[in-house]
């Protein structure tokens, strides 16, 4: 991060006195403006884009430019007449004449952005120049734009704050796309800024031009193109607002290069709301009362909680509600940590690789409370066999999640936390409790299912390392308190099954898109957000190679990650499906010519360890965890034939699980 002394303005945050002084000192114009004053809008495009005549005029006569200048002049005189409101010292009440690039950085700062994950290129060079001249917003230089998006995503998942990304036009934008789609599928708040070619070149197949708005449209919550520097600050503010409220999601802002050079006054916009966007917060009290009445009569209640509980910071409300009910609680892959895994009421993850007891409880429950979960096909299996005996209550912030895959009896459209708080109050208000005898009988049944010990594996093996053993040991040594990021495959499922998350935002993985390559860059974002925490990336030898270049980023920023590579020399998850459903024809799932990961780690400036005996596992993990200030790459040579159990084959019901004990499948 070495750089020369700052040459431009040093922005002093909040309180305008010193800020004006600093800027005046370097000769910046400082125009006071009423916070609500808006520039008159220039010509606006309709839904079909700019009319051809406008484009032509703009490009060949510059007529539009004249209009813009006149508009600006009018606005300036207007602003000056408004006068400066004395004594009003909140953020954003002074207007400064800044370039788009400077406004960009200022806006990030005023938005409270700590880290910007990015990679430079032609279209964003003005912005990079503005970044160079300040210290407040820390830029993290990745090695591939996919890494930037995943790192911002890891930052967001582990903090609840939006992750922020800056990439250049064309290949910068397309490289970031996988990361944007990953965040979209898991409803993660990201704001991604893509550079764009200069406005007058758009549509000409200009150098490094790609229709970023078009290609990102199906995998963003919303996107914006900035067409006028005077709109930049407000669009940025709206982007953060949309990304972080309601059901969160990534928002892309496409900024043509010329916009970042144009100058205008800057005020931090106070009001980011959009008339067309009004996320719901609180649910219908009637529906909540009905839900309480139904729940309190349940004989075999079940709570199925998903990523919405984590996203909505509703773990405390969920925990309190479940404990009051005395009901079993299961989490989806995305919901892990939303309910403490060590609580006796927790029956483990459900779904394709969920526990026997969780899936059987789903199958046999009579009232199901679903919270912040979207009835994904990996969870429900065959919809015709899904929860055949249950009356379903669904709490979700997104109306479109309700009745999407499964019909429900009572829908509560609300923030998970608020809905559960009110639901608990309504339950207490009924004056009744759940039928004790029925609940006891229900738990006896569940405990019988538990006794099957569906996560059993060959613990005693002294010859080959069982991947589950590595994860159990990692859990024990970190006392369950580490941040665990994961890639995609068998190792991901084992991490979900064997690391017991008692707190939310500790389990960071790509569930919806299932993006191999996610784990390492995501861990970068997590470690930056939690510099003193233990951050381990559980990965496989195939996944890790999809973003391996980020080891270099880890070196640059001294990130002491622990990489737990469960190296089975197979794309294990693919191999498992081929074993079960393709008569063991292992078509292209074996990885030949693997690198020596120890040397690879060393060449990036990190430490590497190769472990191939079970009795070395604990010592190696201890050694690595003890290295507080350096990244250690642990290459565990694991059993090649191990499969993930239990397993529900695609299209089967929850009661049709295959356990490790009946190895035969299909």
């Amino acid at each position: 991060m070495a750089r020369g002394p700052p040459t431009g303005p040093t922005w002093v945050s909040h309180g305008c006195g010193p800020r004006i002084a600093a800027l005046n000192a370097i000769g910046c114009a400082c125009i006071p403006v009423h916070p609500l004053a808006r520039a008159p809008k220039a010509l606006k495009p309709g839904p079909l884009g700019w009319p051809a005549t406008v484009r032509a005029t703009w490009r060949y006569t510059g007529a539009i430019a004249v209009i813009v200048t006149q508009g600006l002049d009018r606005w300036r005189s207007l602003s000056e007449n408004q006068g400066f409101e004395k004594g009003h010292k909140s953020r954003g009440d002074i207007a400064l004449e800044l370039t788009g690039a400077e406004i960009f950085v200022r806006c990030l700062h005023d938005e409270g952005v700590e880290y910007l994950f990015g990679y430079p290129g032609g279209a964003v060079l003005h912005i990079y120049d503005a970044l160079y001249k300040q210290e407040e917003v820390k830029h993290i230089l990745v090695r591939h734009e996919q890494g930037a998006a995943h790192a911002a995503d890891g930052y967001a998942r582990s903090t609840g704050k939006p992750g922020v990304v800056l990439v250049t036009s064309g290949p910068g934008a397309t490289n970031a796309l996988t990361g944007i789609a990953t965040a979209y599928m898991d409803s993660i708040p990201l704001v991604v800024f893509t550079g764009q070619v200069m406005t007058h070149l758009i549509g000409d197949d200009a150098f490094q031009e790609v229709d970023a708005i078009g290609i990102t449209r199906p995998c963003v919550k919303h996107n914006f193109m900035v067409k006028d520097v005077r709109d930049l600050a407000l669009i940025m503010r709206k982007a953060f607002h949309v990304a972080t409220t309601g059901r969160p999601g990534p928002v892309v802002v496409d900024i043509p290069k010329d916009i970042t050079a144009h100058k205008t006054s800057y005020t931090f916009p106070q009001d980011p709301t959009l008339r067309s966007y009004k996320p719901v917060r609180e649910g219908d009290p009637m529906a909540i009362r009905k839900a309480a009445d139904l729940l309190v009569q349940a004989k075999r209640p079940m709570v199925y909680a998903g990523g919405g509980v984590v996203l909505g910071n509703a773990a405390p409300e969920l925990t309190e509600l479940v404990r009051w009910l005395g009901a079993p609680c299961t989490n989806t892959l995305m919901g892990l940590g939303g309910f403490p895994a060590t609580d006796p009421l927790f029956v483990g993850m459900l779904g394709m690789h969920g526990t026997y007891e969780a899936n059987m409880s789903m199958h046999e429950c009579d009232v199901l409370l679903a919270v912040g979960a979207r009835f994904d096909d990996r969870v429900t299996g065959d919809l015709d066999k899904f929860c055949p005996n249950a009356r379903i209550i669904h709490i979700d912030i997104d109306p479109a999640s309700i009745q999407k895959n499964v019909p429900v009896e009572i829908a509560i459209i609300s923030e998970a936390g608020l809905a559960m708080r009110d639901l608990l109050a309504a339950l207490k208000a009924t004056g009744a409790r759940l039928d004790k005898a029925a609940l006891d009988a229900w738990w006896r049944k569940i405990n019988e299912w538990r006794a099957r010990q569906c996560l059993q594996y060959d613990r005693a093996n002294t010859e080959v390392i069982k991947p589950q053993f590595v994860l159990e040991t990692l859990y024990r040594l970190t006392q369950g308190d580490a941040f665990i990021t994961s890639d995609v495959g068998q190792h991901q499922m084992w991490a979900a099954q064997f690391y017991k998350f008692d707190k939310p935002r500790r389990w960071i993985n790509s569930g919806g898109l299932g993006t191999m390559g996610f784990g390492l860059p995501a861990a970068i974002g997590v470690q930056l957000a939690h510099p003193d925490a233990t951050v381990a990336c559980v990965t496989g030898e195939a996944s890790i190679q999809m973003c391996i270049q980020e080891l270099s980023t880890c070196k640059q920023y001294d990130l002491p990650l622990k990489i737990v590579n469960l190296n089975n020399r197979y794309m294990g998850m693919v191999r498992q499906w081929q074993e079960f459903f393709y008569q063991s024809r292992y078509s292209h799932s074996y990885l030949e010519a693997l690198p020596d990961f120890v040397k690879l780690a060393e060449s990036y400036g990190h430490a590497g360890l190769r472990i191939d005996k079970p009795h070395d596992v604990e010592a190696a993990l201890k050694e690595a965890l003890g290295q507080r200030d350096r990244l250690v790459f642990l290459d565990f040579i694991t059993d090649q034939t191990e499969n993930v159990y239990p397993m529900i084959a695609a299209g089967a019901g929850h009661h049709e699980m295959h356990l490790a004990t009946d190895r035969e499948l299909a």
Binding site: P45, W50, I213, H222, R275, D398, P399, K404
Partner: protein
């Protein structure tokens, strides 16, 4: 079932492609779609005709409402409504045919808006069925060109599809 949905949309570049993209990405049917600015130049009014089971149409409404550019959505199917579509049709009209086609056009309350010695261009407004019927009647002649605007609709009575008060 057929549904006719009215949408107020931000009059922004890209808003239309968001709606169109939603339908293709999620595999929803789209029978017709029309859009034009309203008296408020910042808003466009779209009328969309789609079909599907109640569950699918429920999802369509929710997914449309979820688009950040959608300011207001009303399913006109639930209301007493007026539907209109415009047809411009160019037919060969020579010799005896000319009177006959003119008569047919009058019966349907069409207007001949362009005339050459070989062809008429007729404008006709009504609901979809009426336009279908007129085209069917002219089918035996030589139709040169058919242009339909797609359906627009409005609810009867005093209620209006306008943005909610802030």
């Amino acid at each position: 079932m057929r549904h006719i949905i009215s949408i107020l949309l931000e009059n922004e570049a890209g808003a239309l492609s968001r709606v169109a993209g939603l339908f293709s990405a999620r595999g929803y049917n789209i029978a017709s779609l029309t859009v034009a600015p309203t008296e408020d130049p910042s808003l466009s009014r779209m009328t969309l005709v789609t079909s599907g089971s109640e569950a699918v149409v429920d999802q369509i409404r929710k997914q449309l409402n979820k688009l950040v550019d959608v300011v207001k959505l009303v399913d006109l199917t639930d209301n007493e409504r007026i539907e209109r579509e415009m047809l411009l049709i160019k037919v060969c009209a020579e010799g005896d045919e000319r009177d006959e086609i003119k008569r047919l056009s009058d019966i349907f309350r069409g207007r001949i808006i362009d005339v050459t010695d070989r062809a008429y261009t007729i404008e006709l407004t009504g609901d979809g069925r009426k336009l279908d019927a007129f085209i069917a009647v002219l089918q035996s002649r030589r139709i040169l060109e058919v242009v339909r605007s797609g359906v627009i609709g409005i609810a009867r009575g005093g209620s209006a599809c306008v943005p909610d008060a802030p």
